[in-house]
Amino acid sequence: MVHMNRWVSIREKIVKNTLTVFALSSLLFLFLIFIFILIEGLPLFLKVGLKNIIFGFKWAPTKGYFGIFPMIISSFLVTFGALIIGAPLGLSCAIYLAEYSGKRLKMILKPALELLAGIPSVVYGFLGVIYIVPIVREYLGGSGFSLISTSIVLGIMILPTIISISFDSIMSVPRSYREGSYAMGATKWQTIFKVVLPAARSGILASFILGMGRAIGETMAVIMIAGNALKIPTNITDPLRTLTGNIALELAYATGDHRLGLFSTGIVLLIIIMALNYLANFGIKRRI
């Protein structure tokens, strides 16, 4: 009984090796995604030139123009717009949930807010078209398919990300910090503003960056609301086209260099997303 049955030890080895292969599969998939998007997208950078793609203003892929500069700017514009709307609202919610709400209310509010994350982006897009676009058209002018409408919808869509990560980082601030502050005679808000939030700031920042990542990668809602015009918006009521929108609108029918141009768009998007994720992870790791 002391020495292990031979078959058992072989089985243990097989299991371990199989599990190792399984674990490595994620890396393989990541590698494949990178490689295939790069293989398709890079040749065009060499052919047309990095400058003419990244800083080119004209997108007319069937005529040899692959400029995606307006889309890069537009992607960042809607993302910052979403952040202006989503960040204060999301952070307030997180503070409320962590510091003010009673236990029972928290039990209802927290899952309710997380369910907001489960609603598909096409549904947000649809409701945006039906309810937000007409309001913008009525009160601000333009067609309503615009930077401001897209920012509002994206701002709502990133709320769950911002709330749940900010909430976690506020909750992870040790109780003793708060007690120390109260002992000095600070009010609840003074404690939150001067002690809790500064202590939780890297996690809160990470929640904003992850929210940005979600907004910049969002596709279906955006193509329904943004209007998809090929120029840099100069006004909040102007329509715009994002990097994601460019891919989604044209992939189904693009061929030849046109299709390669969409993969070049994909490379730029991939780089932006990886950079944001890296920044966010850095923030989360520094969290206390």
Partner: protein
């Protein structure tokens, strides 16, 4: 004039209250709008009959079947891989450079937006591997997309199993794998199921990654090499091409209700796990 800190405190508290309820209000409004506008057009016939005239009339039966096929097959594919990875990361290694790299890979996969999964699935499965616009292409793409969720929730669930469960098992002479299969996994099952349910919810609502890999054929798929249309894709096409607002609302309602139901079950299971070990 000095502002009274107590008054500021009170004011802020009221403001935060308002904002929190405003946010929850948005959720309620979204669900309510879809419920009110969609409920009148939903009946058994809508669920079990074929669409006519691009979906202008008739039901959504093939899209329900398409959704179910996509979801079940991608879960079947992703679950063993995901749970296996989680077991490897928690039970079979210490923190090494390898686990760091694997974790980095999983985090990166989780951050990639669905349109890039669509782009990858399109070029790799549809074109290079010649699977065409098919349920298989969609399944493989979605399986990769939901893998990080399954890995992370399974890892959390496995980590939450108390250490002495394992020690007792080893002391009875069980091997590592026997301990994992008979002790660790049964205790971690509810947590793992939560991850699977959340992934199901994500797959049901996904559009960008599905439309470019599975296509949007309205015919009832008979094999995994057929193109098919999910409810989410159908809803997108109905809404975007303005085919029928009534059918769009009705489809949205079926879509949102199924996702909410799936997620509520997921949270319920998760809470059971949390209360069990804490």
């Amino acid at each position: 004039m000095r502002i009274n800190p107590k008054k500021v405190n009170k004011f802020i508290q009221i403001m935060l209250n308002v904002q929190a309820f405003f946010t929850v209000g948005i959720l309620i409004v979204i669900v309510a709008l879809i419920l009110v506008k969609g409920i009148g057009n939903i009946n058994l016939e809508f669920l079990f009959s074929f669409p006519e005239d691009m979906g202008r009339h008739g039901g959504i039966y093939p899209t329900i079947i398409g959704t179910i096929m996509l979801v079940i097959l991608s879960i079947l594919f992703a679950t063993p891989l995901g749970v296996g990875t989680a077991i490897f990361l928690t039970e079979y290694t210490k923190e090494t450079i390898l686990t760091k790299i694997i974790r980095f890979g999983v985090e990166s996969l989780a951050g990639i937006p669905s349109i890039l999964y669509g782009l990858f699935g399109f070029i790799f499965f549809v074109i290079k591997l010649k699977m065409g616009w098919s349920i298989l292409s969609g399944v493989l793409t979605i399986a990769i997309m939901i893998l990080p969720t399954i890995i992370r929730t399974s890892e959390e669930a496995i980590k939450a199993v108390p250490k002495n469960f394992r020690i007792v098992s080893y002391s009875l002479g069980a091997t590592k794998w026997e301990t994992v299969i008979k002790v660790v996994l049964p205790s971690a099952t509810p947590g793992i199921l939560t991850g699977i349910m959340l992934s199901v919810g994500r797959a049901v609502g996904e559009t960008a990654a599905v439309i470019f890999t599975m296509g949007s054929s309205l015919r009832l798929p008979t094999s995994i090499m057929d193109s098919g249309r999910t409810m989410a894709v159908h809803f997108y096409i109905l809404a975007r091409e303005g085919i029928s607002m009534e059918k769009a609302y009705a489809t949205a309602l079926v879509l949102v209700l199924s996702i909410l139901l799936i997620n509520i079950v997921a949270y319920y299971t998760m809470n059971k796990v949390v209360s069990r070990f804490s």
